[in-house]
């Protein structure tokens, strides 16, 4: 009997959380499209997400591109197909590694910061203060972050794509001894718009996930500094896992011919 009650309690708690999360997401989305729009706040978040993440994302991208070139060169040597290195690099970077790596790095950087900031505001009653000043926290805190995430992640990924491919090119041309012109030619040769576009769409979805998880966990944090720390961890972990799962689903959607 007690076992049954315990199972029931866990199940009810799960339902409650799911409901809470769904309502949070829908409310957040509705405030993204309804006026008034706080341009100033969106701008600030865009700078925070887009501009200040550039070093992290750039570094990740360049080393990813470099190591890809190296690995595929040594790996493909077994099949004597080293000519495919440039193609492998550009396709992996634009389709998968660009968006996923950038998504994970930004989740660590921005998702955590959002959860910590909103969480601190929640536990110090700043969110309550917002409400009493006739300002909707969804409009003021959540919507700008989600809009900025949606818009800025594709930009970041575009930069990551270019830097990643460049990293592969540097290794290919100057370390592995490929002819630079041939390398560049084979980079372009098999690249289709869908490769880049799918990556950017993924990026946008990841940006949404990062902002949503950051805001959600921050908004529902309680219990002082410890609760905020917990919320921060949850934001990063849940965003990362969601990024990896939706990445699989989106890939299946784009390339399931």
């Amino acid at each position: 009997m007690t076992l049954l009650a315990a199972v029931g309690r866990v199940f009810l708690a799960f339902l409650e959380r799911t409901g809470r999360f769904t309502i949070f997401t829908l409310t957040a989305l509705s405030h993204c499209v309804r006026p008034p729009v706080y341009g100033r706040l969106i701008g600030r978040q865009m700078i925070e997400i887009g501009y200040f993440s550039l070093p992290v994302v750039g570094l990740t991208a360049i080393f990813t591109g470099m190591v890809l070139a190296l690995q595929s060169h040594t790996g493909f040597a077994r099949f004597s197909a080293e000519g495919a290195v440039a193609t492998v690099v550009v396709l992996s970077v634009t389709r998968e590694l660009g968006p996923v790596m950038a998504g994970l790095m930004v989740a660590g950087r921005i998702g955590a910061a959002m959860a910590a900031e909103i969480g601190t505001m929640q536990v110090t009653e700043q969110v309550d203060a917002l409400v009493t000043l006739s300002t909707n926290p969804f409009k003021y805190l959540v919507a700008p972050r989600i809009i900025a995430g949606l818009l800025m992640l594709p930009c970041l990924v575009l930069v990551a794509d270019i830097i990643g491919v460049f990293g592969g090119f540097v290794v290919g041309a100057y370390q592995l001894g490929y002819n630079p012109a041939t390398y560049l030619h084979s980079t372009w040769e098999f690249l289709k718009p869908i490769d880049v576009v799918s990556g950017l769409v993924k990026a946008s979805v990841f940006g949404f996930i990062i902002s949503l998880m950051g805001c959600y966990n921050g908004y529902y944090s309680k219990g002082g500094a410890q609760g905020v720390g917990q919320a921060t961890t949850n934001a990063v972990v849940s965003a990362s896992i969601l990024i990896l799962t939706t990445n699989y689903m989106l890939t299946a959607l784009f390339f399931n011919k």
Binding site: Q126, D128, A129, V131, T135
Partner: protein, 257 residues
């Protein structure tokens, strides 16, 4: 005379888990009156204010503002009602991402859509009223002392000249002279602007100075409500013990021995 009391609480209950905080609070507060709530630490004074503001939902009972039921209002109607209120939070709850003057002007800029330059002027005026100079206007709240933060929060609460102002321990943490300046300011808000004020305080000097009427909260109920002038003749042992700050009396502090 208006037909309705400004604020009316009818049999309001609020519990946190097994812990009963408000246990049937019934109260009328007239328009233009300065009402003071006293009571021991942790008796639910702040919770009572938050229930009226709709930041917490009472488990039972009804709360009317200008004769309008506010329990269970939707977000938009709540926003309209909150436009009448100003709230000074016990912990100040200043927005630490904004400067001091932006905090004070927040309700004017976000709520009333006032021009930033005009709002800044109004904010400076308010800061001056709480004894703070222009030199701190561009600091961030974290750079202020606790008492200064409290005064900034007070300036923010009254900046948009709300009809109803809640002060949660306005003079706690201030020196006696500054506390008296704040008392005068609260009296002025009520007498000159015609606002309805509800203040929570532990400071009996301040309570006598600002309050027209006074209520004492004890074990979730209002055990005494009456004119502040009559407080010394309340005939209530609990009130007597509280206002004289005696350790001996009917109120037993729950100390472990």
């Amino acid at each position: 005379m208006t037909a309705h009391p400004k604020i009316q609480l009818v049999d309001v209950h609020k519990s946190f888990g097994p812990k009963r905080v408000l246990d049937g609070v019934t109260l009328d507060i007239a328009a233009g009156e300065s009402f003071v709530v006293i009571g021991g630490s942790g008796t639910g004074k702040s919770v009572m204010l938050k229930c009226i503001l709709g930041l917490m939902r009472p488990d039972q009972g009804s709360i009317l503002v200008d004769g309008e039921e506010t329990v269970g209002l939707g977000a938009r109607a709540r926003e309209r009602i909150l436009g009448k209120f100003g709230m000074l939070f016990q912990g100040a709850a200043l927005f630490d991402s904004l400067t001091v003057w932006e905090n004070v002007a927040f309700g004017l800029i976000q709520g009333r859509r006032m021009d930033r330059r005009k709002a800044r002027e109004a904010a400076m005026e308010r800061l001056f009223q709480v004894g703070l100079g222009a030199d701190i206007a561009n600091l961030s709240p974290a750079e202020l002392s606790g008492g200064m933060q409290k005064r900034v929060a007070l300036a923010r609460a009254i900046a948009s000249q709300p009809e109803i102002i809640f002060f949660d321990e306005p003079t706690t943490g201030l020196d006696p002279i500054m506390a008296d300046v704040i008392n005068d300011l609260i009296v002025k808000c009520v007498k000159e602007v015609g606002a309805t004020a509800v203040s929570i305080t532990h400071d009996m000097h301040s309570a006598r100075k600002i309050g027209d009427r006074l209520a004492m909260l004890y074990h979730g109920k209002l055990i005494w409500v009456g004119r502040t002038a009559d407080i010394d003749r309340s005939g209530n042992d609990y009130v007597d013990q509280f206002i004289h700050g005696r350790a001996e009396g009917p109120i037993k502090m729950e100390l472990r021995r």
